[in-house]
Symmetry: D2
Subunit: 362 residues, 4 copies
């Protein structure tokens, strides 16, 4: 052999991540880490359903499997955790992970009440660990393009904003009914609230008025499962935003954002799956995006790459590179969006506008 150099190449030591929760979304995050995030290793998977954890680990070449997240938190070889368990466990897992000195990426929502969230975020602050919340839309290329334009002042002062989520669902709303009643606010519209807050950066949400109903599956109305909602939000800078969501968009996964302001408008949102177009005797047609993990595949990868990069920077003492505008959603973002979701629930109950700080006060 005549290689001029033949040695261990000196790449940075990979970041070692532990996955907590190996359900549908957890498994996808695991796959992103193992296969698509350079410099990150999926080191362990925890799930009370240990067969699920083992299955994910086997597919991804992950060496360690446990039923108990505490094993991951106690493992000195693991730098950080990805929390993808059911939402009701998020807050305590954040707090435990922080106490164990692990950096934390947590799927939204950060908690189901502000009290819980505040306790968790206090633990994060005390431990000095890095915290990122799973608002993945910030990493979608079209939303980033819009944000960049907004940061550059293209739209001027925001006056009207819109964000929407139309979810194709599983075709099985009754199944969905087993999830908590307020899912549409706590787990779906919370994404839209974050998009609006990010697009309207610098302003605070002041008041919300929410309308919600069970239009897809009216039989679930009595059980409190709502599948359609519209929210009007007043911001401290006068801007008025509308967020809307529906759980049964037959045409696919439709996520859009729009900001109208004193100088113009920017829009994000992808109407079709690819740029390909068909023209037949029936006219123009094109495929529409379906699963969120297809539409946002790259965004899901990029949010984890951002997290891995931040963890590495902390570990290696290198400041992470900062861009032209804020991307990484952190503690304040998690809290602001949750406060809005909770105010919406109260607004639906009252049938009246609700001040965000009424429910958000600590």
């Amino acid at each position: 052999m005549a290689y001029i150099q033949q040695h261990s190449a000196e790449l940075p030591t990979p970041v070692r991540l532990g996955l907590i929760g190996s359900g549908w979304m957890g498994a996808f995050h695991g796959e992103s880490i193992a296969r698509r995030v350079p410099g990150a290793v999926l080191a362990a998977v925890a799930d009370p359903n240990v067969d699920s954890a083992a299955s994910v680990a086997a597919q991804l070449g992950t060496a360690k499997v446990t039923a108990d997240a505490a094993d991951i938190l106690a493992d000195p070889d693991i730098d950080a955790v990805i929390i993808a368990s059911p939402a009701r466990f998020h807050a305590s897992l954040i707090a435990q992970a922080a106490a164990a000195g692990k950096h934390v990426f947590c799927e939204k929502p950060g908690a189901q009440s502000l009290e819980e969230l505040d306790a968790a975020l206090a633990a994060v602050e005390t431990a000095g660990v890095h915290f990122q919340i799973g608002f993945n839309r910030r990493y979608a290329e079209d939303f980033q393009s819009a944000k960049k334009d907004l940061a550059a002042g293209i739209a001027g002062q925001p006056q009207l904003l819109r964000s929407l989520t139309r979810d194709p669902g599983t075709g099985s709303i009754p199944q969905a009914a087993r999830v908590p009643a307020w899912t549409i606010f706590l787990e779906t519209l919370i994404h839209d609230f974050d998009t609006l807050n990010w697009f309207n950066e610098g302003a605070e949400p002041v008041e919300v008025y929410a309308v919600a109903d069970a239009l897809v599956e009216p039989s679930l109305r009595e059980q409190g499962f709502l599948d359609t909602a519209v929210v009007t939000i007043r911001y401290s800078n006068g801007a008025v935003a509308v967020a809307e969501a529906n759980f049964s968009a037959l045409y696919g996964y439709d996520i859009r954002g729009e900001v109208f302001g004193s100088k113009g408008m920017v829009q994000a949102g992808r109407a079709t799956e690819t740029a390909a177009r068909r023209y037949t005797a029936e006219g123009l047609s094109a495929d529409t995006p379906r699963l969120n993990v297809e539409l946002f595949r790259q965004a899901y990868t990029d949010e984890l790459a951002d997290f891995a990069g931040a963890v590495r920077a902390r570990r290696d003492g290198v400041p992470p590179s900062s861009g032209d505008f804020t991307i990484t959603p952190g503690a304040a973002d998690a809290r602001r969006a949750l406060a809005m979701a909770l105010a919406c629930i109260e607004s639906v109950k009252r049938g009246a506008p609700v001040a965000v700080n009424e429910t958000a006060a600590v």
Copy 2:
């Protein structure tokens, strides 16, 4: 520690690839392999400019570096090679790699003459190795969507086809002039020829008529460097295709394909970088795609993932999964497109149509 399982996870052994040529495109392929192709390892880099090879290897964590591609070919730890050297070396490298029992991914063109290419492909066939040519557009999601529709008969019998390449260039055409005179046919339009052949699968290109000129940089006309070309192609099924290229598209990297037939039309090509849109006092605006490695980033990854998958399937004796339609561009595709490019050069010289088999005969 209380992990339920703690063991070496049983992932398939990665495919080990050697990169030959670490110029701009080679370095990008190396990065794709090292960072974005699951199950592949960039095991070695060869370049006569060994500093370039070392630099690429260092960035990508590749252990082996050499000035001589023969080192890679002789290395039993390497399964396959990626040939990204200048085009004039392609044919002999293909032949040598095949003779060394390495599977071969080669950037286009496979050779600069049909004689050379036929010799190289004969070596591939004799050795029984897998061969893939770098027609990356087949892996772009919109071109795949169009191909899928064509395979499903959406457009009916093809009658009119179009493929175009508008390259933003480097802003430095005189530099480009140092590349061979017929680059526009041999290295650029060869992509379009393959797209047309793939879209019109089952038909053979019969005759070409090519017009070419130095319109971007007229001063280079005498040196024979042509920057603008239009080609008309007659196919055996009667379809007529047009391919066009230009080396200085100020608005970005514009790659489109279109097939019109007895039942309709399909189009591929991405007009804007993302789905984001701006509306200002100047009207609507959006960013356009720029570098090919941005526009086709995923396509470049996917062509290498396809190659790695095929190499692994050969190694492990598992047949690669086959899809609804042909994707992987192989020996016959490399030859067909090269024959067209050579016929175009002859057509420009004669100022007349030229039968493809006139230059393609062996």
Copy 3:
């Protein structure tokens, strides 16, 4: 001369229309009638500003001019009137015209209160004349296409609707401030309300919640002039709609409608002035629609052609042809939209949702 036939061709006698109000919109309606509506004649123009009326008449070849609309109402040669005076005169002019046996086309709003409107519509009913309100968007080709799809059930049961008006304004909001404070609801959003009612045909608006502010020209807030508004509307079929408006869209005249339902979504609204596109070093760009009389030029013509056709059908005893879906906006449409606008005003005053029938009761 050797003409085979040479005679007075037997075209139907034109419909003779009198224009009441020759301001900007009145003059445009006059021009549409005189130049673009076959079978209609602009027979007279009335305006207290008789110079304005005379100027319009002179440009359009109209023979009769008066300062007093009563002259037109008393003229037996006139079949019908177009009311384009300031809104505060609409109701009494409708009533007078009906009493004089003239068919009536009235610009929106039909009145400024429901009491006035009901009196006017009672006069219409008593007189048995034809009544059309100026909801021109129903005649825009894209809104008609959407309506046709909705009537065919493409979107299924409506669940979420949206209509918006972004008006480029005159660049002179202070001037706008001389119009009544609630213009944004009574004269602008009333269009959106009608679009939503038409798209959600068969359902009744039940409750509105309106937010409005002076964001374009905050100094006018105290004078009550509002330039930005968002309205949430609950319909009797459970659908939730959002209407929004703003008086200073720098990028042009942006009118959109969207209906999302159990089977899909339909959208109307034209993003660019023409299908032409530019690609330059700055990316993609295109011109956006500007004046409403440009964007809706054909729609304005077609609404008057519809009116003229209905008048002719009444006169000649021929039933007007009916299409696949309802187009002509009549008395009930005028009332429904006005009731919503009035409920919005009340909602802004109260800062709370308001039942439409609370203000709409007669």
Copy 4:
């Protein structure tokens, strides 16, 4: 009655036009004049099929009908003629009309040979009458927008151009076969040639290479009826253009133009009938334009309004207003495009490129 003014309004005397040829296109032009061109009157209709002429006249309220175009030419009350007879009569009708002192609007082509055309245009020049050829695409709003951008230098120096015609046809190509064999060049692509010439104003077409075949209806190949053609055109400024046509576009009427140059690209062409969009379980869909008289309805009106305006300006001694760029297609445009069509026919016969001036020399 108390009208302040009651008098004959002083509108300009209308232009009185005679229609020669009342077939499908002639009847449509007649309707445009009678109903959509302000200031023009359809004064007479001539057609050897006098029943056809009488039927058109009756529908449009035209008083005079004749089997003999000479009656119109001899009528002192008629200012100008619209020639919409079969193409083989165009040249002699132009000459006769000019000799009779009538201004002439003639559908394309101006003639079927350059000799005939030159004779006809000489008569026009001798008589000093106004001449316009029916290249209606110049009046389409998107083509005008593109032309305006080109005139402003947006695309820089043209390098690559494209124009295409995809005609949905009548679904009855055998019927079409009764029209002359070279229709695709003389009556269809002649539109594209004019578009290219107009977009590349200042340059002359130098050489064409045409490929044509009977792909839609191969059985008609022997009779010489060609339904598919592609033409490459070299211009005096080095630009290379491609024109293509097909007579059976199942998806509708598809007319596009594109100019790529040293600074950018402009595109014209309307992909969908309206801006409305549908999203269903099948994805995105929209209607496509169908009949040319729908797609170009306003363009057909505007070309006749331009003609009527020019006739009025001549009559009244007022110079017609001139715009930012050339619109009205005249004698030179008619000749240039015809010369290209004839050179294409020769190119198909020879299977080789043909210099335009080879067939165009007088």
